[in-house]
């Protein structure tokens, strides 16, 4: 046996772990082999010295961490795996059926899902700008139709709106984000789908009896398919629609509340209607950063009869809630829905109209509203942040302490210890809050830059920012918001309208 043959044994020989029989053989070899003897001495020396070196310091909590990790894993991953492998096939079939059924039910008329079914974005040219229009296509349209008596009118309106929506005059995309969409005016529920794609739509609804027009407008998604049954009313609507579209594509971009006129024709005939159409309200020239969404304005106003008006708005503003101090009792939407009588719908107890109009104004057009000079309202307080309980896109006009407390609580719902409610003197101040809704990453901010009063319009200038390209993003849900308290004086807030300018 040569030295090489012993090499593998010598490691264990040095360790002292070699079985006795083999150790004896090694001993015999070492007696006669000087080299191997020397090597064994060296190896022992190295081993002794190596044993002196400190061992890697094992983290004290390693075992606990590992146990935790495996337990956690077992709680969902392995159990899920096991579930999938053990659950019999019929269970999968049942699951599939359940999912299919829920989808069907979800799509069925009668299911109140105001966020359902969106019509694909339709680019519409307006003032040489292409603006993508995104419109809510409520699946509950049919249901809504049933709520009102005047089906024809609704269908007509629906056809009008739908046709208008599907009028692609696109030439280029100005900005993917520069979209007007989701204009659903609501009164504690829904009021109506507002026009989009540059076509301004005004919907008048009595404070208490918004169901009718709401329903009518909402019905566009379905009504488009049902336009065959359009009545003479529909024809009238079409005419109007044509003019609206023309208007939308025209250079001067004068926006009229034509749709509103159509929507409310019947009502107008019966009641002394409040102003239905008004001149377009071009925004001020762009004066903020490039990111400012200049050129777009959304207006919502409240009549005294409304407590809350909710408007789904374009890009970041889906919804406006205007709260009137000392407002009448909240409109009983449920009642309206349940008893959609024509009379109730058309001759509301609160005749004060709610106008909502969407205006697409040229950013360079510096015309002012007929309201006159813009008065900059001083901002008395400001609260901006990126974490809040405002999970939807909203613009909220707050004119009462109780409303303020509610919104304040909503904003700080994400905190265990919300800061105390700041004092706001609602006799001369109002508060305005805007939120972007839940964003899936950080990097989104918005800020109410200033608030101008032009006549009875509160023009909120808002800047929004998205994440900067190429920068790291916080992977967290954020709900950016901006709340300001502005001095408005003791003037009446009746009929105050809010207009958001990006």
């Amino acid at each position: 046996m040569s030295c090489t043959d012993f090499e593998q044994l010598l490691a264990e020989y040095v360790d002292g772990t070699l079985p006795a029989e083999q150790a004896t053989r090694v001993d015999a070899h070492l007696l006669g082999c000087e080299d191997c003897r020397r090597e064994v001495e060296l190896a022992r020396f190295a081993k002794e010295n190596l044993a002196q070196l400190p061992k890697p310091k094992v983290p004290a909590d390693l075992a606990a961490r590992v146990i935790d990790a495996t337990t956690q894993k077992s709680s969902w991953l392995t159990q899920l795996k096991r579930w999938f492998t053990q659950v019999p096939a019929p269970a999968y079939a049942l699951l599939l059926i359940a999912v299919a059924a829920s989808v069907l039910v979800y799509r069925m008329p009668g299911v109140d899902k105001d966020f359902m079914g969106k019509v694909p974005d339709v680019p519409v040219l307006a003032n040489n700008k292409t603006v993508e229009a995104k419109e809510e296509k409520p699946a509950s349209a049919a249901d809504d139709l049933d709520l009102a008596d005047d089906k024809e009118t609704k269908v007509a309106k629906g056809a009008l709106l739908a046709d208008k929506l599907r009028k692609p005059v696109a030439s280029k995309k100005a900005d993917a984000n520069l979209r007007i969409g989701d204009h659903v005016m609501e009164s504690d529920g829904l009021l109506g789908v507002m026009g989009s794609g540059g076509a301004s739509v005004g919907g008048q609804a009595p404070g208490k009896n918004g169901a009718g027009s709401k329903v009518a407008s909402k019905s566009e998604g379905r009504a488009s398919g049902a336009s065959g049954e359009a009545s003479p009313m529909a024809a009238a609507a079409r005419e109007d629609r044509t003019s609206v579209v023309k208007s939308a594509t025209s250079e001067n971009l004068e926006r009229r509340e034509q749709n509103g006129e159509i929507l409310e024709k019947k009502r107008m005939a019966k009641s002394a209607a409040a102003p239905l159409s008004e001149k377009a309200l071009p925004t001020r020239p762009r004066m903020f950063s490039k990111k400012t969404r200049a050129g777009m304005a959304t207006t919502i106003s409240t009549g005294s009869g409304m407590d809350n008006v909710v408007v789904d708005q374009p890009p970041y503003m889906d919804e406006t809630i205007a709260d009137q101090e000392g407002a009448h009792a909240p409109s009983n939407e449920l009642e309206n829905k349940m008893k959609p009588s024509k009379e109730n719908r058309t001759e509301g107890n609160s005749p004060a109209p709610i106008e909502s109009s969407l205006r697409l104004a040229d950013s360079s057009g510096a015309e002012e509203d007929s309201g006159g000079e813009a008065i900059n309202l001083s901002i008395a307080g400001r609260y901006d942040g990126i974490r809040s309980g405002l999970t939807r896109k909203r613009t909220i006009l707050i004119t009462s302490q109780s409303r303020f407390a509610k919104i304040w609580a909503e904003i700080w719902a994400v905190r265990a210890n919300p800061p105390p409610l700041p004092y706001v003197d609602f006799s001369r101040q109002i508060a305005i809050a805007c939120s972007l809704g839940t964003q899936t990453t950080g990097g989104y901010t918005l800020r109410i830059m200033n608030v101008d009063r032009v006549g009875n319009i509160l023009r909120i200038r808002l800047t929004t920012k998205g994440p900067t390209k190429g920068t790291g993003l916080t992977q967290a849900l954020t709900q950016p918001y901006s709340l300001v308290v502005v001095d408005i004086g003791s003037e009446s807030r009746q009929g105050l309208k809010v207009e958001v300018v990006y």
Binding site: N49, K55, P56, V58, I67, K73
Partner: protein
């Protein structure tokens, strides 16, 4: 004609594994407690960073837990475990190297290495003539020479003589044949001793 008789020793983990399989999940804690330090040692020898090693250890046990069903008991559980650990470490090391974190394999100069591991901060022993090396200086000297050994020798040597892993474990964790591990360790020891002695002789003269 030669017959090879393979004597299979009972797997000391067999009972625990059976308990886990019959639903006593808490029995897995025994496995973790029994092996976590050794698996950590293996991981540490691969990546040379305590945090990374702890993470890898955790990942290894998670994989073991997940794949326990696929352990057929054809080998000892520990064999399966060390093989799995070794493969995981190798994959992880590859990924880390791709990220260029591990350009320098020397522990002493490794940017990710930390003080929790074996000695890495050492001064150059500079004893006077005939002066004996202090224990600390000797350790530093051993450590430095160990670092200078070829990687393939150094890793198995450290696993054996510092971490006290046995030859089977080292073989499984490294994927080397048992004989290779043994001879590599023996040659590594001799080489290290020669280097240390050479340096000590040079300095004391």
């Amino acid at each position: 004609m030669e017959f090879v008789l393979t004597l299979r020793l009972p797997d000391p983990d067999a009972e625990v594994i059976e308990q886990i399989r019959t639903g006593q999940k808490e029995a897995f804690e025994n496995i973790v407690v029994r092996y976590n330090r050794r698996i950590y040692a293996v991981a540490y020898r691969y990546v040379k960073n305590s945090e990374e090693a702890a993470d890898i250890t955790q990942e290894i046990f998670i994989r073991v837990w997940e794949k326990l069903d696929s352990f057929r008991g054809e080998s000892k559980f520990s064999t399966w475990l060390y093989q799995l650990a070794g493969n995981h470490c190798k994959n992880r090391l590859k990924a880390l190297k791709r990220r260029r974190w591990f350009q320098n394999e020397s522990l002493s100069s490794h940017p990710l290495d930390d003080n929790s591991g074996p000695v890495r901060q050492y001064e150059c022993p500079n004893p006077g003539p005939g002066e004996l090396l202090s224990t600390e200086n000797l350790k530093a000297l051993v450590r430095r020479n160990l670092d200078e050994l070829p990687q393939e020798q150094r890793m198995v040597l450290m696993m054996r003589d510092i971490d006290d892993l046995d030859y089977d474990e080292i073989s499984e964790a490294t994927g080397l044949a048992l004989g290779t591990v043994k001879s590599r360790i023996h040659r590594g020891r001799i080489e290290l001793a020669k280097r240390i002695k050479r340096e000590m002789a040079g300095e004391s003269i």
